[in-house]
Every structure is written in C-alpha cells, then in structure tokens.
Subunit: 314 residues, 2 copies
C-alpha cells in the first residue's frame, strides 16, 4: 500500500503539560487517543519509549497493523521540520536540541516527521479542515503565544532554515511591550492570552475603572456577554492590534483566507466583528473585501492531533 | 527548440516616464535596447503597436528569428501575473484594467507574460543575479515607492490573487505618516525617496538645524560623505525604520538573504552599516546572524529589463 492510500495516521501533540496521541483516519476523525502527562519525565529516553508504547497500543487496540498506518507526525514547540529536532523549547523539560523524530523513528516501523505546533495547525486545516480547497492561506494560533502557519501556492512556508511563519513575533509597535522573546512590541504581546488581559487592564486604567483581578480570556468573554463595557472595549482593542498584525501578513502574502485557532476564538463576535472591520480597513485597496477571516473548521479537542497527523497524510 | 533552450528573451520595463525594451541572453547580458518615452501615448493601441515594432526591430537588427526568442516579459506598475493585466496604475496614462499581455501577444509570435516591477526584480535576481542558488529570498526595491518580490521554496509568491509581496505597504507605525495608498504608517513612507527626505527634515527639526531645502537622496549621500551629521543621522533613522520593516518580513518568511535594489542603495555604508545592525537586532534569536542583507547583484542600468526578461526565461 502506498503512503497516499494508507487509511490511518498517528498524530502526536506535544505540549508543556501533556502529550496527546491520536489515531486519525483520512477524513479527519480522531478514532482513539492516549494522554501522557509530561510531569512524569525528566529525560528523553523514557518519554520516547512511552510514546512508542502508546502508539503500539493504539494500533493493537483497533486490530490494525502498521502497514495501514501512513506514519506518525509530531507537532512540538520549536519543532524544526528540516532537522526533525526540537530546538531550545523554553516550555519543555528536555533542553537543548532534541532529535525527537529520529529517536521515535527508531522505535516505530513507519516514517516519523516533526514540525512546530502552528505549522501543524495549518497542515490540519489544509488536509482535514476549511482550507482543503485553498492554496494560499494563513492559520493563526492564539493562546499562551501567537503562532502562525503559512501556505503559499499549496505548500507550507518553512523558509530557508525551517523557521518560517512567525507572524506572532513580527513587531507591531516598535519600542512597545516587552515580549518573552526579548524584543519589544511583538504582535504576541497584544493578542496572546496575556496580551489580551494586559489590554483589558489598560482599558480599565484609561477609564479609571477597577480591573477584575482574576480576569482571564474566558472571564472576559463572559463579562462582555453580560454587557461589561470594559470587557467589550478590551476585545475591540485586541481586534485592533490583531487586525493590523494579520493585515500586514496579508499584505505580504495575499492569502485567500486567514483561520484563527485556539481557545481565545470562543470570544466569538466580541473578537470577530471588530477584527474583520479593522483587518479590512488596513488592507490595500485591491485586497479589501477579498480576504476572509474564519474560525478554524477543525474540532477544538482534536485540532492539534489532526494537525500533527496531517504532516504524514498530506 | 524548447523554451528552456532558447538563447534570448525580450525584457520590457514599463514605467511612468519611459518604456525600456531590451534583448537579453541567458547569461543576463542586455545586448541591445530601445526606449519609448511615454509622453507620446494617450491610448493603449498606439503604445502596443510601437512596443511590438521595437521588438521586431531588435530581433531583426541582430539577424535573429523569433524561434530563438523564449518570449517577452513585461514588468509594469500594478501588473498582475495571473490576469496579464495592469490594474489601476496611478502613474500611467492608461487607466482602469489594461490587458497588456494579451494585446502585445496578438502582435508577437512568442509568449508574453506580465508581472509587477518588484516581482520582476526578484525574478531577475533569481535568474541572472545573486539569488541563482537560493530558494528563499526577498528583493526590496527602494525608489519612489518601496516594492518587494518574495521567493519561497524556489517560487515567486503571487498569493491568491497575484498581489502578493507588498512589504512596502505593511504598516510599521500604526497611525503614523499618511501614505499615498490612503492608509497610515506604511513602511514606504519611511524608506522611499520621499520618506527618507522626510526623515532628514525631522532629524534637522529635532536638532534645531535648518534642513537643506533641495535635499534629495543623492545629495543626502554626498552630505554624509562630507561629514554632515544631520545627513548621517537621517540615514541611520532610515535604517531603523527599514531594518524593522524587513525584519518583520524575515520573521514571517525566514529567507536566506534580502537584496536591496534602486538608486537609494548608492548611499552605501551610510545605509547598509546601520541597517544590518538594526535588522539583526530585531530578528528572533534563532535567526540572528543567519540572514544576509545584500545590494542587488544586477547592473543598475539593466536590472529592470533583466527582471522582465527573467519572467519568460525562468
């Protein structure tokens, strides 16, 4: 059976807290999954052995053989597709350069590939989601950070060294808020979960209102739903920053659509309505009204696993 | 003879003031050229007839036949590769949507293709210049405006609608200087010829010095050579804006190199030295020191013709 006709793939979503492993069919259904809490591991050998064991178990549980599995794809923070390595991920216990694709490949009879989580998200949208018929699109992941995966002419943009697609670290406000990357004014500091809460605090301060001390993005959506003007305004300010940031990416790349992914999109119309207006306002004339902003068409629970699986099923 | 082995191509550089037409060989030598002043024309039919006649003349003068010509490539403002049309170019007498590739193709026995001038510049660098062995690079054209052409994985990024690669119109300073495109804070307003002179005026004002009223970019370079601190500072300020702008493009695309083109690069070290430092400072850690900024490797007089010819000789 050639890889293109193999009916299943393994998707591995590696995060700072958990690794989720799923068995995925060609239609983008996650048929079974396993979870490994990262707290168990201090060294990479034990981790790779457990991931491999979980995959063998998933395959055996469904009475499948590896001849029906196209491969295993890994979405990991700072994952480099070209080298198959995780390179200096700050939120993992495994430090330095970790050749994860090679290590896991030694314990599986199928190909293993690795990329970063935002590139995996874009692959998932292309293979199983709303971008199936698109060649030029961008996926923006909004969460602890702001990531992006870019498709140009039907291919993921890896760039020269595998680090293409860092729209979240384009500088939106030179000299602005200090980013975790050490530079100032990155889009991430205005549109990630922490950036949004900072927007809310500044809105409250400008309006001389006390900010809710335990505010997070979920609370901010609920507060907007209840008519809290500070919360509504915080989403508008977020939309302003994000709208200009992704308009710049669109001006550079002329995509057909931009997909947003991550828990923050649950803000719904509080985010999307002002975002679409501000985005459009900041496009060049010839692009206005031609580029759609959409929420991901992948199921939120499975999106990261699907993206990783897409890496070996594209 | 297949197109790939045909030894010559025609390059047409269409500008607001002149159209330059050249006969180009596969090594990137412009063997002969003709010039048509645009002031002669009020309607497209007469213009196309004269361009076709000039091409026939160039071919006949060298005792060639069209079987040896791969085609004719046009670099034009607002040129759209997908449609072969010039779409609403503000600096041409021909208004609206002009199907130039089709019109010229009707008068020539070879294929005709069209793209915008910055994309043509990138094609020229790829086929004849410093990017021959590169798959991921960006060409920035600095002149009346700031244009860009992007190569990702060996292919020019046209985007969904043919308008990809407008790095000059990414917004560098939200709410900043009013751009000719109608929006505010575009990179172009800080790094084009007029933007640079505005930088100079602001530097003089900040330092309570009188600005030279007739300053242009050539004067600004000469003044810097003579030790004029306001001029040197104006180049540094320009490098700051341009450095952040192209660092953002590099963060998005992870190119191997960025080439600068246009008369402004004659500023030499006054521009390039601070630009390289500021660019590098505004890259993510994993990219620092890995992306080169270079002047175009094409001869300035021929660059635009070569770029247009590259469109049919890639």
């Amino acid at each position: 059976m050639s890889n293109e006709t193999k009916p299943y793939a393994i998707g591995i979503d590696m995060g700072g807290t958990n690794t989720d492993i799923g068995l995925v069919d060609r239609d983008g259904h996650c048929l079974a999954r396993k979870n490994l809490p990262m707290g168990r591991y201090t060294e990479i050998g034990a981790y790779v052995a457990d991931v491999a064991a979980a995959i063998h178990q998933l395959v055996a549980d469904r009475n499948l053989t590896f001849s029906e599995i196209a491969g295993a794809g890994i979405g990991a923070p700072n994952g480099n597709f070209f080298t198959g390595c995780i390179e200096h991920a700050s939120n993992l216990v495994f430090t330095g350069v970790v050749p994860l694709a090679k290590l896991l490949g030694e314990q599986l009879p199928v190909p293993v590939a690795l990329t970063n989580d935002a590139n995996a998200a874009a692959l998932g949208e292309k293979v199983y989601g709303g971008a199936r018929n698109m060649n030029d699109f961008i996926v923006i992941t909004l969460g602890t950070g702001v990531g992006s995966g870019i498709f140009a002419d039907g291919k993921l943009v890896y760039g020269h060294d595998g680090f293409g697609g860092e729209v979240g670290h384009t500088i939106l406000h030179p000299g602005g808020r200090l980013c975790t990357c050490g530079r100032k004014g990155c889009l991430e500091e205005y549109a990630s979960a922490r950036g949004i809460i900072q927007n809310y605090r500044e809105v409250c301060e400008e309006n001389r209102r006390e900010a809710y001390i335990e505010a997070d993005c979920r609370w901010l959506t609920e507060a907007a739903n209840k008519g809290d003007m500070m919360a509504i305004r915080a989403w508008e300010v977020t939309a302003w920053h994000l709208g200009i940031g992704i308009a710049n990416a669109a001006t550079t790349l002329a995509p057909e659509a931009i997909f947003l992914m991550g828990g923050i999109i649950n803000a719904g119309r509080w985010l999307f309505d002002p975002l679409r207006a501000i985005f459009n306002e900041h496009l060049l004339c010839m692009q206005k009204g031609k580029i759609t902003i959409l929420p991901t068409q992948l199921n939120a629970n499975d999106a990261a696993i699907l993206g990783a699986a897409a890496l070996v099923q594209l």
